[in-house]
Amino acid sequence: MIEVKDLHKSFGDAHILKGISTTFEKGKTNLVIGQSGSGKTVFLKCLLGLFEYEQGSISYDGKVFKNLTRDEKTDLRSDIGMVFQGSALFDSMNILENVMFPLRMFTKLSEDEMKDRADFVLKRVNLDGAHYKMPSEASGGMQKRVAIARAIVNNPKYLFCDEPNSGLDPKTAIVIDNLIQEITDEYEMVTVINSHDMNSVMEIGEKIVFLKNGLKEWEGSKETIFKTDNEAVTGFVYSSELFKKVRKMYLEENQ
């Protein structure tokens, strides 16, 4: 479990995160949603330890991240998998080498064992036969799947995804969403996803945290988001006519 208490983060005079508190549980897909500029990415980077925060605490299974020594932070990071918005695959390596990279860095497995494990996770993300392609030769969807494979190859306890669907067509986006949810269930991970894709919210949002202007405005799930009367949430989630109709139908059906 990841527990966040009263998190504050500023850049100069700009107060970006203004006291966020929440928890992310094991085996659940946790979505952090909000408009562009609401502080989602800063929040995620604070969780990952890429940004230092001024006030509050973040604890991973009871261990407060700030209080850990440098070595303890390194150990913890080997339990973290991250899927970046732009995939962040290493340009100089092919797909197989990208997936094998965390194994090469943190395990003592032999070359064959590493290759077997990489083969397994590449099959798991439905990417068979693309092992020797360079990232620049792969499509956006393929790159995202490689990034997921690289993130889970070391059996992490925590998986973070920054807008995993951005730039993907709706069909591929759903494939990626379902894949993340299946992997979360299968490996019992704590998964935190930054998103502003409403399809993802409806599809996999087992827990949803809505940020607005650096504050936690609302917290719930894909079921409760239909019923909420929080104007900021409804204004954001049901901004399109289609979603407004979907919500209306859902509420009528469940009256």
């Binding site: 990952l48 330890g49 890429l50 440098r70 932070k73 390194t74 150990d75 913890l76 990071r77 080997s78 973290i80 991250m82 970046f84 918005q85 732009g86 962040a88 695959l89 290493f90 340009d91 100089s92 990279f101 965390p102 090469r104 860095m105 943190f106 973070f160």
Partner: protein, 245 residues
């Protein structure tokens, strides 16, 4: 204030380069790749420039000796001294600041823009050690490149002098062998090692700490070239004052 901040950050980066080393099996591959990119990949341009500049130095020296009291072997002597003392270590380093320095800044800068450096950090890898240390080690072979530049520069002078009709082979060789002071070669290689360190670290600094997008990668490469050249020229002056002054 900004300059002081940058200098401080640069020295912290140097310290971090030696902290938390990357696994040797991975580091070995990175070092070999950087030797190929930075040293072997520069052989052609260094050889080409050294050979022709050596020729130009010999021709210019020869054309400027009008006094019959000045011995003919001075052409070989002057070419050797110019090449060994200044051209090979300093001038080639400025060229390398453009070639290798821009490559280092743009490759690390692109990794920063595309979040590859963040990915390394999240994995618990020390990105500075992973990216900068192999470049520093591979540029320990820089004296090899400078030795080739020295040899080809003197050879270029010989070819231009003899085949251009500016002097005889015997005079040129006599000049090259006259008053050879071993410390001058040691001085040249001390400078080479210092410049190798500068070539590996300043461009890495500008790539690693760059902010922004693709446009800023280009700007960072230019800034990196300017500052690497400035530092090389200042250190050249200081080292010459200290070692030969």
């Amino acid at each position: 204030m900004k300059y002081l901040h940058n200098i401080g950050t640069y020295f912290i980066m140097i310290k971090d380069m030696f902290r938390k080393p990357t696994k040797w099996s991975v580091m070995k591959t990175l070092i070999f790749k950087d030797i190929d990119d930075l040293v072997i990949g520069s052989l052609g341009i260094v050889a080409f420039i050294a050979f022709f500049v050596g020729g130009v130095v010999a021709i210019q020296t020869s054309l400027n000796i009008n006094n019959p009291l000045i011995p003919k072997y001075l052409v070989g002597f002057a070419t050797r001294q110019s090449i060994i003392l200044e051209f090979a270590p300093t001038f080639i380093s400025i060229i390398m600041a453009g070639k290798v320095g821009s490559f280092i800044t743009s490759s690390i800068g692109t990794m920063r823009v595309t979040e590859q450096i963040d990915a390394l950090e999240v994995m618990g890898i020390n990105p500075i050690n992973y990216l900068v240390f192999p470049k520093f080690i591979s540029l320990l072979l820089y004296p090899f490149l400078i030795s080739i530049a020295m040899f080809l520069g003197v050879l270029g002078g010989l070819v231009a002098c003899v085949y251009g009709g500016y002097g005889t082979l015997e005079d040129y060789i006599q000049g090259v062998q006259t008053d050879l002071i071993v410390f001058h070669i040691i001085y040249a290689f001390i400078k080479t090692m210092v410049f190798a360190f500068i070539l590996a670290t300043i461009p890495s600094f500008y790539g690693y700490f760059m902010k922004g997008g693709a446009l800023e990668v280009g700007k960072a490469s230019t800034t990196s070239f300017v500052w690497t050249s400035v530092v090389i020229i200042i250190l050249n002056f200081l080292l010459t004052s200290l070692l030969l002054g």
